[in-house]
Subunit: 308 residues, 2 copies
Protein backbone atom coordinates (compact mmCIF):
# COMPACT_ATOMS: atom_id res chain seq x y z
CA UNK A 1 0.00 0.00 0.00
CA UNK A 2 1.27 3.46 -0.91
CA UNK A 3 2.10 5.91 1.87
CA UNK A 4 -0.63 8.56 1.79
CA UNK A 5 0.52 11.95 0.48
CA UNK A 6 1.26 14.40 3.34
CA UNK A 7 -1.59 16.69 4.35
CA UNK A 8 -1.05 20.43 4.04
CA UNK A 9 -3.16 23.31 5.30
CA UNK A 10 -3.58 26.26 2.92
CA UNK A 11 -4.83 29.77 3.59
CA UNK A 12 -5.64 32.27 0.86
CA UNK A 13 -5.77 35.44 2.96
CA UNK A 14 -7.71 38.10 1.10
CA UNK A 15 -9.03 41.48 2.12
CA UNK A 16 -12.65 40.34 1.70
CA UNK A 17 -12.45 36.64 2.52
CA UNK A 18 -10.07 33.98 3.76
CA UNK A 19 -10.25 30.62 1.99
CA UNK A 20 -8.87 27.80 4.14
CA UNK A 21 -8.30 24.27 2.89
CA UNK A 22 -6.66 21.02 3.94
CA UNK A 23 -5.44 18.53 1.34
CA UNK A 24 -2.45 17.05 -0.41
CA UNK A 25 -2.85 18.66 -3.84
CA UNK A 26 -5.31 20.35 -6.17
CA UNK A 27 -7.03 17.01 -6.92
CA UNK A 28 -7.15 16.02 -3.26
CA UNK A 29 -8.74 18.83 -1.25
CA UNK A 30 -10.20 17.08 1.83
CA UNK A 31 -11.93 20.14 3.32
CA UNK A 32 -12.35 23.76 2.31
CA UNK A 33 -14.16 26.76 3.79
CA UNK A 34 -14.62 30.48 3.31
CA UNK A 35 -14.31 32.92 6.20
CA UNK A 36 -15.31 36.56 5.99
CA UNK A 37 -12.31 38.83 6.70
CA UNK A 38 -13.29 40.68 9.89
CA UNK A 39 -10.76 41.74 12.53
CA UNK A 40 -7.44 39.87 12.59
CA UNK A 41 -7.89 38.03 15.91
CA UNK A 42 -11.32 36.71 14.98
CA UNK A 43 -10.40 35.79 11.42
CA UNK A 44 -7.18 34.01 12.39
CA UNK A 45 -9.00 32.12 15.18
CA UNK A 46 -11.63 30.85 12.75
CA UNK A 47 -8.94 29.76 10.29
CA UNK A 48 -7.03 27.93 13.03
CA UNK A 49 -10.19 26.22 14.28
CA UNK A 50 -11.01 24.97 10.79
CA UNK A 51 -7.52 23.55 10.34
CA UNK A 52 -7.68 21.86 13.79
CA UNK A 53 -11.09 20.33 13.07
CA UNK A 54 -9.91 19.08 9.66
CA UNK A 55 -6.76 17.61 11.22
CA UNK A 56 -8.85 15.67 13.77
CA UNK A 57 -10.87 14.22 10.90
CA UNK A 58 -8.18 13.59 8.25
CA UNK A 59 -4.94 13.47 10.19
CA UNK A 60 -2.28 16.02 11.23
CA UNK A 61 -1.03 18.61 8.76
CA UNK A 62 2.68 18.52 7.94
CA UNK A 63 2.96 22.17 6.92
CA UNK A 64 0.91 25.30 6.29
CA UNK A 65 1.03 27.66 3.30
CA UNK A 66 -0.34 31.20 3.32
CA UNK A 67 -0.82 33.45 0.31
CA UNK A 68 -1.69 36.85 1.73
CA UNK A 69 -2.84 40.29 0.69
CA UNK A 70 -0.13 42.84 1.33
CA UNK A 71 2.21 44.49 1.50
CA UNK A 72 3.85 41.77 3.59
CA UNK A 73 7.29 41.31 5.15
CA UNK A 74 9.17 38.46 3.46
CA UNK A 75 12.62 39.15 4.87
CA UNK A 76 13.47 36.20 7.18
CA UNK A 77 15.96 38.43 9.03
CA UNK A 78 13.33 41.05 9.85
CA UNK A 79 11.63 41.24 13.27
CA UNK A 80 8.32 41.58 11.43
CA UNK A 81 8.85 38.62 9.06
CA UNK A 82 5.49 36.99 8.38
CA UNK A 83 3.49 40.17 9.01
CA UNK A 84 1.04 42.05 6.86
CA UNK A 85 2.68 45.51 7.08
CA UNK A 86 1.44 48.87 5.77
CA UNK A 87 -1.93 47.87 4.35
CA UNK A 88 -4.55 50.62 4.40
CA UNK A 89 -7.14 47.95 5.32
CA UNK A 90 -8.61 48.92 8.73
CA UNK A 91 -7.25 46.90 11.69
CA UNK A 92 -4.92 44.76 9.56
CA UNK A 93 -1.79 46.90 9.41
CA UNK A 94 1.19 45.31 11.25
CA UNK A 95 -0.56 41.98 11.80
CA UNK A 96 1.39 38.79 12.48
CA UNK A 97 0.20 35.94 10.25
CA UNK A 98 2.95 33.31 10.41
CA UNK A 99 3.63 33.40 14.17
CA UNK A 100 0.14 32.40 15.45
CA UNK A 101 -0.02 29.53 12.95
CA UNK A 102 3.44 28.29 13.82
CA UNK A 103 2.83 28.57 17.53
CA UNK A 104 -0.45 26.63 17.34
CA UNK A 105 0.61 23.81 14.95
CA UNK A 106 4.41 23.64 15.31
CA UNK A 107 4.89 22.86 11.62
CA UNK A 108 6.76 24.76 8.86
CA UNK A 109 4.79 27.73 7.49
CA UNK A 110 5.32 28.98 3.93
CA UNK A 111 4.33 32.61 3.41
CA UNK A 112 4.14 34.81 0.33
CA UNK A 113 1.89 37.32 -1.42
CA UNK A 114 -1.49 36.06 -2.66
CA UNK A 115 -0.37 36.71 -6.23
CA UNK A 116 3.04 35.03 -5.89
CA UNK A 117 1.11 32.05 -4.46
CA UNK A 118 -1.30 32.05 -7.41
CA UNK A 119 1.66 32.20 -9.77
CA UNK A 120 3.22 29.16 -8.07
CA UNK A 121 -0.08 27.27 -8.22
CA UNK A 122 -0.41 28.03 -11.93
CA UNK A 123 3.22 27.06 -12.56
CA UNK A 124 2.81 23.68 -10.84
CA UNK A 125 -0.70 22.67 -11.86
CA UNK A 126 -2.28 25.31 -14.11
CA UNK A 127 -1.63 27.45 -17.18
CA UNK A 128 1.96 28.31 -16.29
CA UNK A 129 3.60 24.91 -16.56
CA UNK A 130 7.02 25.03 -18.27
CA UNK A 131 6.81 28.85 -18.40
CA UNK A 132 9.69 30.58 -16.62
CA UNK A 133 9.66 33.55 -16.06
CA UNK A 134 5.92 33.52 -15.37
CA UNK A 135 3.66 36.42 -14.37
CA UNK A 136 0.20 36.14 -12.76
CA UNK A 137 -1.85 39.34 -12.59
CA UNK A 138 -5.18 39.73 -10.83
CA UNK A 139 -7.60 42.55 -11.63
CA UNK A 140 -10.35 42.74 -9.02
CA UNK A 141 -10.84 44.76 -5.84
CA UNK A 142 -7.17 45.55 -6.27
CA UNK A 143 -4.62 44.92 -8.99
CA UNK A 144 -1.55 42.84 -8.17
CA UNK A 145 1.04 40.65 -9.81
CA UNK A 146 3.05 37.60 -8.82
CA UNK A 147 6.29 36.75 -10.56
CA UNK A 148 8.23 33.48 -10.87
CA UNK A 149 11.87 33.57 -12.02
CA UNK A 150 14.09 30.48 -11.86
CA UNK A 151 11.13 28.51 -10.44
CA UNK A 152 11.11 30.78 -7.37
CA UNK A 153 8.70 33.56 -6.47
CA UNK A 154 10.46 36.88 -6.99
CA UNK A 155 11.40 38.70 -3.80
CA UNK A 156 13.85 41.55 -3.49
CA UNK A 157 13.75 44.72 -1.55
CA UNK A 158 10.12 43.74 -0.98
CA UNK A 159 7.99 41.95 -3.59
CA UNK A 160 6.48 42.98 -6.92
CA UNK A 161 3.66 45.54 -6.73
CA UNK A 162 2.62 45.44 -10.36
CA UNK A 163 -0.76 47.02 -9.61
CA UNK A 164 0.92 50.37 -9.12
CA UNK A 165 2.87 50.56 -12.38
CA UNK A 166 2.72 54.10 -13.77
CA UNK A 167 1.29 54.29 -17.27
CA UNK A 168 0.03 56.91 -19.71
CA UNK A 169 -3.35 58.08 -18.35
CA UNK A 170 -6.36 57.01 -20.42
CA UNK A 171 -8.48 59.84 -21.81
CA UNK A 172 -11.77 58.24 -22.76
CA UNK A 173 -14.64 60.68 -23.39
CA UNK A 174 -17.56 60.27 -20.98
CA UNK A 175 -15.61 59.33 -17.85
CA UNK A 176 -16.97 61.24 -14.82
CA UNK A 177 -13.67 61.08 -12.86
CA UNK A 178 -10.73 61.19 -15.29
CA UNK A 179 -8.11 60.97 -12.55
CA UNK A 180 -6.42 57.95 -11.09
CA UNK A 181 -8.33 56.66 -8.04
CA UNK A 182 -5.25 55.45 -6.08
CA UNK A 183 -4.60 57.35 -2.84
CA UNK A 184 -0.83 57.11 -3.41
CA UNK A 185 -0.39 57.79 -7.12
CA UNK A 186 -1.61 59.97 -9.96
CA UNK A 187 -1.34 57.58 -12.88
CA UNK A 188 -1.19 53.94 -11.81
CA UNK A 189 -2.85 50.78 -13.08
CA UNK A 190 -4.87 50.01 -9.95
CA UNK A 191 -6.12 53.59 -9.80
CA UNK A 192 -7.67 53.22 -13.24
CA UNK A 193 -8.85 49.62 -13.56
CA UNK A 194 -9.53 48.00 -10.16
CA UNK A 195 -13.21 47.26 -9.54
CA UNK A 196 -13.62 50.23 -7.13
CA UNK A 197 -11.70 52.53 -9.52
CA UNK A 198 -13.98 51.58 -12.41
CA UNK A 199 -17.07 52.16 -10.24
CA UNK A 200 -15.81 55.56 -9.01
CA UNK A 201 -14.56 56.78 -12.36
CA UNK A 202 -17.63 55.72 -14.38
CA UNK A 203 -20.39 55.81 -11.77
CA UNK A 204 -21.47 52.26 -12.58
CA UNK A 205 -20.48 48.86 -11.20
CA UNK A 206 -18.64 46.45 -13.48
CA UNK A 207 -21.34 43.79 -13.29
CA UNK A 208 -23.98 46.31 -14.44
CA UNK A 209 -22.01 47.47 -17.48
CA UNK A 210 -23.32 46.61 -20.92
CA UNK A 211 -20.79 44.85 -23.16
CA UNK A 212 -20.32 47.98 -25.29
CA UNK A 213 -19.63 50.35 -22.35
CA UNK A 214 -16.60 52.56 -23.14
CA UNK A 215 -15.07 51.73 -19.75
CA UNK A 216 -14.33 48.20 -20.95
CA UNK A 217 -12.25 49.39 -23.88
CA UNK A 218 -10.42 51.75 -21.52
CA UNK A 219 -9.74 48.96 -19.02
CA UNK A 220 -8.37 46.77 -21.81
CA UNK A 221 -6.03 49.42 -23.17
CA UNK A 222 -4.88 50.55 -19.74
CA UNK A 223 -4.14 47.00 -18.61
CA UNK A 224 -2.32 46.44 -21.92
CA UNK A 225 0.02 49.35 -21.04
CA UNK A 226 0.79 47.51 -17.81
CA UNK A 227 1.42 44.23 -19.64
CA UNK A 228 3.70 46.00 -22.13
CA UNK A 229 5.81 47.24 -19.22
CA UNK A 230 5.85 43.81 -17.61
CA UNK A 231 6.92 42.21 -20.90
CA UNK A 232 9.70 44.78 -21.41
CA UNK A 233 11.01 44.31 -17.86
CA UNK A 234 10.63 40.60 -17.11
CA UNK A 235 10.32 39.05 -20.58
CA UNK A 236 7.93 36.40 -19.18
CA UNK A 237 7.15 33.27 -21.20
CA UNK A 238 3.46 33.60 -20.32
CA UNK A 239 1.14 36.08 -18.57
CA UNK A 240 -1.93 34.79 -16.70
CA UNK A 241 -4.79 37.22 -16.02
CA UNK A 242 -7.18 36.42 -13.15
CA UNK A 243 -9.55 38.30 -10.85
CA UNK A 244 -13.18 39.38 -10.98
CA UNK A 245 -12.82 42.18 -13.52
CA UNK A 246 -11.21 39.78 -16.02
CA UNK A 247 -14.46 37.74 -16.13
CA UNK A 248 -16.08 40.40 -18.34
CA UNK A 249 -16.84 38.72 -21.68
CA UNK A 250 -14.46 39.79 -24.43
CA UNK A 251 -12.06 41.63 -22.12
CA UNK A 252 -9.06 39.30 -22.37
CA UNK A 253 -9.31 39.29 -26.19
CA UNK A 254 -9.28 43.08 -26.18
CA UNK A 255 -6.29 43.17 -23.78
CA UNK A 256 -4.37 40.88 -26.13
CA UNK A 257 -4.96 43.03 -29.19
CA UNK A 258 -4.06 46.28 -27.41
CA UNK A 259 -0.87 44.68 -26.08
CA UNK A 260 0.24 43.63 -29.56
CA UNK A 261 -0.68 47.03 -30.99
CA UNK A 262 1.21 48.96 -28.28
CA UNK A 263 4.37 46.83 -28.56
CA UNK A 264 4.18 47.52 -32.31
CA UNK A 265 6.50 44.71 -33.34
CA UNK A 266 9.37 45.85 -31.11
CA UNK A 267 9.54 42.57 -29.19
CA UNK A 268 10.05 40.27 -32.13
CA UNK A 269 8.98 37.02 -30.48
CA UNK A 270 6.78 34.38 -32.05
CA UNK A 271 4.64 34.18 -28.90
CA UNK A 272 3.67 37.84 -29.23
CA UNK A 273 3.48 38.31 -32.97
CA UNK A 274 1.80 35.02 -33.89
CA UNK A 275 0.54 33.33 -30.73
CA UNK A 276 -0.77 36.01 -28.37
CA UNK A 277 -3.84 33.84 -27.53
CA UNK A 278 -1.59 31.35 -25.78
CA UNK A 279 0.72 34.03 -24.35
CA UNK A 280 -1.87 36.07 -22.40
CA UNK A 281 -4.26 33.54 -20.89
CA UNK A 282 -6.87 32.92 -18.18
CA UNK A 283 -5.85 30.91 -15.07
CA UNK A 284 -5.79 27.17 -15.69
CA UNK A 285 -6.95 26.62 -12.10
CA UNK A 286 -9.74 29.22 -12.45
CA UNK A 287 -10.76 30.63 -9.08
CA UNK A 288 -8.68 27.97 -7.30
CA UNK A 289 -5.31 29.45 -8.36
CA UNK A 290 -4.94 31.25 -5.02
CA UNK A 291 -5.78 28.41 -2.67
CA UNK A 292 -3.80 25.88 -4.73
CA UNK A 293 -0.86 28.28 -4.65
CA UNK A 294 -1.11 28.49 -0.85
CA UNK A 295 -1.07 24.70 -0.78
CA UNK A 296 2.08 24.76 -2.92
CA UNK A 297 3.70 27.21 -0.47
CA UNK A 298 2.97 24.72 2.32
CA UNK A 299 4.40 21.78 0.35
CA UNK A 300 7.50 23.83 -0.38
CA UNK A 301 7.93 24.79 3.30
CA UNK A 302 7.71 21.12 4.24
CA UNK A 303 10.36 20.11 1.67
CA UNK A 304 12.69 22.94 2.72
CA UNK A 305 12.33 22.03 6.40
CA UNK A 306 13.24 18.40 5.68
CA UNK A 307 16.35 19.54 3.81
CA UNK A 308 17.47 21.75 6.71
CA UNK B 1 54.56 29.37 -8.06
CA UNK B 2 50.84 30.04 -8.57
CA UNK B 3 49.18 28.94 -11.78
CA UNK B 4 48.44 32.12 -13.73
CA UNK B 5 44.72 33.02 -13.90
CA UNK B 6 43.16 31.95 -17.21
CA UNK B 7 43.09 34.56 -19.95
CA UNK B 8 39.70 35.62 -21.32
CA UNK B 9 38.86 37.75 -24.34
CA UNK B 10 36.05 40.27 -23.88
CA UNK B 11 34.06 42.21 -26.46
CA UNK B 12 31.73 45.06 -25.62
CA UNK B 13 29.84 45.30 -28.91
CA UNK B 14 28.20 48.70 -29.19
CA UNK B 15 26.46 50.47 -32.02
CA UNK B 16 29.16 53.16 -32.15
CA UNK B 17 32.26 51.28 -31.04
CA UNK B 18 33.49 47.84 -30.12
CA UNK B 19 35.78 47.63 -27.09
CA UNK B 20 37.93 44.48 -27.16
CA UNK B 21 40.11 43.36 -24.27
CA UNK B 22 42.17 40.39 -23.11
CA UNK B 23 42.79 39.76 -19.43
CA UNK B 24 41.94 37.67 -16.42
CA UNK B 25 39.86 40.20 -14.44
CA UNK B 26 39.18 43.92 -13.99
CA UNK B 27 42.54 44.46 -12.28
CA UNK B 28 44.41 42.44 -14.89
CA UNK B 29 43.55 43.76 -18.36
CA UNK B 30 46.58 42.84 -20.51
CA UNK B 31 45.46 44.59 -23.69
CA UNK B 32 42.49 46.70 -24.71
CA UNK B 33 41.44 48.51 -27.88
CA UNK B 34 38.59 50.42 -29.38
CA UNK B 35 37.26 49.68 -32.86
CA UNK B 36 34.79 51.87 -34.71
CA UNK B 37 31.60 49.94 -35.51
CA UNK B 38 31.53 49.86 -39.32
CA UNK B 39 30.07 46.95 -41.30
CA UNK B 40 29.84 43.59 -39.52
CA UNK B 41 32.49 41.71 -41.54
CA UNK B 42 35.09 44.43 -41.13
CA UNK B 43 34.36 45.07 -37.46
CA UNK B 44 34.37 41.40 -36.49
CA UNK B 45 37.62 40.85 -38.44
CA UNK B 46 39.34 43.67 -36.56
CA UNK B 47 38.12 42.29 -33.21
CA UNK B 48 39.34 38.79 -34.08
CA UNK B 49 42.72 40.11 -35.21
CA UNK B 50 43.19 42.00 -31.95
CA UNK B 51 42.37 38.91 -29.89
CA UNK B 52 44.78 36.79 -32.00
CA UNK B 53 47.59 39.32 -31.66
CA UNK B 54 47.04 39.56 -27.89
CA UNK B 55 46.99 35.76 -27.58
CA UNK B 56 50.34 35.53 -29.39
CA UNK B 57 51.77 37.99 -26.89
CA UNK B 58 50.13 36.89 -23.60
CA UNK B 59 49.05 33.31 -24.25
CA UNK B 60 45.93 31.58 -25.57
CA UNK B 61 42.48 32.71 -24.38
CA UNK B 62 40.38 30.09 -22.58
CA UNK B 63 37.01 31.66 -23.39
CA UNK B 64 35.39 34.72 -24.94
CA UNK B 65 32.61 36.90 -23.55
CA UNK B 66 30.49 39.26 -25.64
CA UNK B 67 28.08 41.89 -24.33
CA UNK B 68 26.22 43.13 -27.39
CA UNK B 69 23.76 45.77 -28.49
CA UNK B 70 20.48 44.20 -29.48
CA UNK B 71 17.97 42.85 -29.72
CA UNK B 72 19.88 39.55 -29.71
CA UNK B 73 18.88 35.89 -29.80
CA UNK B 74 19.70 34.17 -26.51
CA UNK B 75 17.73 30.98 -27.02
CA UNK B 76 20.29 28.14 -27.31
CA UNK B 77 17.71 26.06 -29.19
CA UNK B 78 17.22 28.70 -31.87
CA UNK B 79 18.92 28.48 -35.29
CA UNK B 80 19.87 32.15 -34.86
CA UNK B 81 21.30 31.80 -31.33
CA UNK B 82 24.19 34.24 -30.93
CA UNK B 83 22.87 36.65 -33.56
CA UNK B 84 22.02 40.33 -33.37
CA UNK B 85 18.46 40.13 -34.72
CA UNK B 86 16.04 42.96 -35.61
CA UNK B 87 18.23 45.99 -34.90
CA UNK B 88 17.41 49.06 -37.00
CA UNK B 89 21.17 49.71 -37.24
CA UNK B 90 22.11 49.63 -40.94
CA UNK B 91 23.85 46.39 -42.06
CA UNK B 92 23.73 44.77 -38.61
CA UNK B 93 20.33 43.09 -38.58
CA UNK B 94 20.58 39.28 -38.51
CA UNK B 95 24.33 39.22 -37.91
CA UNK B 96 26.05 36.19 -36.37
CA UNK B 97 28.35 37.20 -33.51
CA UNK B 98 29.05 33.99 -31.61
CA UNK B 99 29.66 31.67 -34.59
CA UNK B 100 32.65 33.50 -36.17
CA UNK B 101 34.35 33.79 -32.76
CA UNK B 102 33.77 30.17 -31.91
CA UNK B 103 34.90 28.97 -35.31
CA UNK B 104 38.13 30.98 -35.15
CA UNK B 105 39.17 30.30 -31.53
CA UNK B 106 37.41 26.99 -30.66
CA UNK B 107 36.76 28.11 -27.07
CA UNK B 108 33.48 28.62 -25.16
CA UNK B 109 31.75 31.91 -26.00
CA UNK B 110 29.47 33.64 -23.47
CA UNK B 111 26.92 35.98 -25.04
CA UNK B 112 24.39 38.40 -23.60
CA UNK B 113 23.08 41.94 -23.96
CA UNK B 114 25.51 44.79 -23.29
CA UNK B 115 23.39 45.83 -20.31
CA UNK B 116 23.07 42.34 -18.83
CA UNK B 117 26.87 42.13 -19.16
CA UNK B 118 27.30 45.47 -17.38
CA UNK B 119 24.96 44.28 -14.63
CA UNK B 120 27.06 41.12 -14.16
CA UNK B 121 30.27 43.16 -14.07
CA UNK B 122 28.80 45.49 -11.44
CA UNK B 123 27.51 42.52 -9.41
CA UNK B 124 30.92 40.83 -9.37
CA UNK B 125 33.27 43.76 -9.04
CA UNK B 126 31.35 47.06 -8.86
CA UNK B 127 28.43 48.75 -7.13
CA UNK B 128 26.09 45.75 -7.27
CA UNK B 129 27.89 43.36 -4.95
CA UNK B 130 25.52 41.48 -2.62
CA UNK B 131 22.53 43.09 -4.39
CA UNK B 132 20.13 40.53 -5.87
CA UNK B 133 17.91 41.35 -7.76
CA UNK B 134 20.09 44.00 -9.40
CA UNK B 135 19.23 46.38 -12.25
CA UNK B 136 21.73 48.28 -14.44
CA UNK B 137 20.27 50.99 -16.69
CA UNK B 138 22.19 52.96 -19.28
CA UNK B 139 20.97 56.29 -20.64
CA UNK B 140 22.99 57.32 -23.68
CA UNK B 141 22.53 56.94 -27.43
CA UNK B 142 19.84 54.47 -26.40
CA UNK B 143 18.25 53.49 -23.11
CA UNK B 144 18.54 49.89 -21.95
CA UNK B 145 18.47 47.81 -18.81
CA UNK B 146 20.17 44.64 -17.61
CA UNK B 147 18.66 42.55 -14.83
CA UNK B 148 20.18 39.99 -12.46
CA UNK B 149 17.87 37.64 -10.53
CA UNK B 150 19.23 34.69 -8.57
CA UNK B 151 22.76 35.67 -9.63
CA UNK B 152 21.81 35.04 -13.28
CA UNK B 153 21.10 37.55 -16.03
CA UNK B 154 17.37 37.56 -16.68
CA UNK B 155 16.31 35.94 -19.94
CA UNK B 156 12.83 34.84 -20.85
CA UNK B 157 10.86 35.13 -24.02
CA UNK B 158 13.73 37.41 -25.05
CA UNK B 159 15.55 39.72 -22.62
CA UNK B 160 14.58 42.90 -20.77
CA UNK B 161 14.03 45.98 -22.95
CA UNK B 162 13.64 48.51 -20.17
CA UNK B 163 14.36 51.43 -22.50
CA UNK B 164 10.93 51.05 -24.04
CA UNK B 165 8.83 51.12 -20.85
CA UNK B 166 5.68 53.15 -21.43
CA UNK B 167 5.28 56.05 -19.02
CA UNK B 168 3.14 59.15 -18.60
CA UNK B 169 4.37 61.65 -21.24
CA UNK B 170 6.23 64.67 -19.87
CA UNK B 171 4.65 68.04 -20.68
CA UNK B 172 7.41 70.57 -20.06
CA UNK B 173 6.78 74.04 -21.50
CA UNK B 174 9.31 75.07 -24.14
CA UNK B 175 9.93 71.68 -25.74
CA UNK B 176 9.97 72.02 -29.53
CA UNK B 177 8.92 68.38 -30.16
CA UNK B 178 6.62 67.22 -27.35
CA UNK B 179 6.19 63.72 -28.79
CA UNK B 180 8.13 60.58 -28.09
CA UNK B 181 11.03 60.20 -30.54
CA UNK B 182 10.93 56.37 -30.73
CA UNK B 183 9.99 54.99 -34.16
CA UNK B 184 8.04 52.14 -32.51
CA UNK B 185 6.22 53.79 -29.61
CA UNK B 186 4.30 56.92 -28.61
CA UNK B 187 5.26 57.24 -24.98
CA UNK B 188 8.39 55.30 -24.09
CA UNK B 189 11.45 56.11 -22.00
CA UNK B 190 14.02 55.97 -24.82
CA UNK B 191 11.83 58.19 -27.00
CA UNK B 192 11.98 60.94 -24.40
CA UNK B 193 15.40 60.74 -22.75
CA UNK B 194 18.01 59.09 -24.99
CA UNK B 195 20.72 61.47 -26.22
CA UNK B 196 19.23 61.72 -29.74
CA UNK B 197 15.69 62.15 -28.31
CA UNK B 198 16.84 65.03 -26.10
CA UNK B 199 18.59 66.68 -29.04
CA UNK B 200 15.56 66.29 -31.34
CA UNK B 201 12.98 67.33 -28.77
CA UNK B 202 14.87 70.37 -27.45
CA UNK B 203 16.96 71.39 -30.47
CA UNK B 204 20.17 71.38 -28.41
CA UNK B 205 22.79 68.73 -27.66
CA UNK B 206 23.13 67.48 -24.10
CA UNK B 207 26.73 68.62 -23.76
CA UNK B 208 25.73 72.17 -24.76
CA UNK B 209 22.93 72.46 -22.21
CA UNK B 210 23.32 74.86 -19.30
CA UNK B 211 22.78 73.24 -15.90
CA UNK B 212 19.42 74.99 -15.47
CA UNK B 213 17.99 73.89 -18.83
CA UNK B 214 14.40 72.61 -18.38
CA UNK B 215 15.23 69.47 -20.36
CA UNK B 216 17.34 68.18 -17.48
CA UNK B 217 14.45 68.32 -15.02
CA UNK B 218 12.28 66.58 -17.58
CA UNK B 219 14.87 63.83 -18.14
CA UNK B 220 15.12 63.28 -14.39
CA UNK B 221 11.36 63.00 -13.85
CA UNK B 222 10.84 60.83 -16.93
CA UNK B 223 13.61 58.44 -15.96
CA UNK B 224 12.17 58.34 -12.44
CA UNK B 225 8.86 57.09 -13.88
CA UNK B 226 10.84 54.27 -15.48
CA UNK B 227 12.63 53.48 -12.22
CA UNK B 228 9.32 53.46 -10.34
CA UNK B 229 8.03 50.82 -12.76
CA UNK B 230 11.23 48.81 -12.46
CA UNK B 231 11.01 48.94 -8.65
CA UNK B 232 7.36 47.87 -8.67
CA UNK B 233 8.04 44.96 -11.02
CA UNK B 234 11.45 43.58 -9.99
CA UNK B 235 11.87 44.94 -6.45
CA UNK B 236 15.65 45.25 -7.02
CA UNK B 237 18.00 45.71 -4.09
CA UNK B 238 19.91 48.37 -6.02
CA UNK B 239 19.64 50.27 -9.32
CA UNK B 240 22.82 51.39 -11.12
CA UNK B 241 22.55 54.23 -13.65
CA UNK B 242 25.25 54.49 -16.34
CA UNK B 243 25.64 55.97 -19.82
CA UNK B 244 26.63 59.34 -21.24
CA UNK B 245 23.48 61.26 -20.36
CA UNK B 246 23.86 60.31 -16.68
CA UNK B 247 27.15 62.23 -16.54
CA UNK B 248 25.25 65.55 -16.42
CA UNK B 249 26.07 67.15 -13.06
CA UNK B 250 23.19 66.92 -10.60
CA UNK B 251 21.10 64.56 -12.73
CA UNK B 252 21.33 61.43 -10.56
CA UNK B 253 20.39 63.45 -7.45
CA UNK B 254 17.33 64.77 -9.25
CA UNK B 255 16.36 61.26 -10.45
CA UNK B 256 16.54 60.03 -6.85
CA UNK B 257 14.25 62.73 -5.49
CA UNK B 258 11.68 62.31 -8.27
CA UNK B 259 11.65 58.53 -7.71
CA UNK B 260 10.95 58.92 -4.00
CA UNK B 261 8.28 61.56 -4.70
CA UNK B 262 6.50 59.46 -7.33
CA UNK B 263 6.48 56.29 -5.18
CA UNK B 264 4.98 58.48 -2.46
CA UNK B 265 5.71 56.10 0.40
CA UNK B 266 3.91 53.15 -1.18
CA UNK B 267 7.00 50.92 -1.18
CA UNK B 268 7.75 51.09 2.51
CA UNK B 269 11.39 50.01 2.39
CA UNK B 270 14.24 51.58 4.34
CA UNK B 271 16.41 51.73 1.20
CA UNK B 272 13.89 53.96 -0.54
CA UNK B 273 12.55 56.08 2.30
CA UNK B 274 15.83 56.68 4.16
CA UNK B 275 18.73 55.59 1.96
CA UNK B 276 17.93 56.46 -1.65
CA UNK B 277 21.52 57.75 -2.17
CA UNK B 278 22.83 54.22 -1.81
CA UNK B 279 19.86 52.64 -3.64
CA UNK B 280 20.14 54.52 -6.95
CA UNK B 281 23.86 54.81 -7.70
CA UNK B 282 26.49 55.39 -10.40
CA UNK B 283 28.45 52.38 -11.74
CA UNK B 284 31.25 51.28 -9.43
CA UNK B 285 33.31 50.32 -12.48
CA UNK B 286 32.59 53.63 -14.23
CA UNK B 287 32.92 53.33 -17.99
CA UNK B 288 34.49 49.87 -17.62
CA UNK B 289 31.22 48.20 -16.49
CA UNK B 290 30.52 46.95 -20.01
CA UNK B 291 33.92 45.50 -20.86
CA UNK B 292 34.32 43.97 -17.39
CA UNK B 293 30.87 42.45 -17.78
CA UNK B 294 31.90 40.91 -21.10
CA UNK B 295 34.95 39.48 -19.33
CA UNK B 296 32.64 38.00 -16.69
CA UNK B 297 30.51 36.42 -19.44
CA UNK B 298 33.67 34.77 -20.78
CA UNK B 299 34.73 33.52 -17.35
CA UNK B 300 31.25 32.12 -16.82
CA UNK B 301 31.28 30.37 -20.22
CA UNK B 302 34.62 28.77 -19.31
CA UNK B 303 33.31 27.51 -15.95
CA UNK B 304 30.11 26.15 -17.51
CA UNK B 305 32.07 24.37 -20.24
CA UNK B 306 34.31 22.68 -17.66
CA UNK B 307 31.22 21.47 -15.76
CA UNK B 308 29.66 19.99 -18.91
Amino acid sequence: MDTPAPLIAAIEAGGTKFVVAVGSGPEDIKAITRIETSDPAHTMREAIQFISASARKYGPVQAIGVGSFGPIDLDPASPTYGFITTTPKPMWSHTAIVAPLHSRFQVPVGFDTDVNAAAIGEMLWGAGQECDPLVYITVGTGVGGGVIVGQQPLHGLLHPEIGHLHIPAPRTPGVIMPDCHCPYHKSCLEGFISGPAIAARWGIKGEDMPADHPALEEVAETLAFGLVNVILTLSPKRIILGGGVMKQAGLIESVRSHTVRLLNGYVNAHAIIYAIDSYIVAPGLGDRAGICGALALGLNAMVEARKA
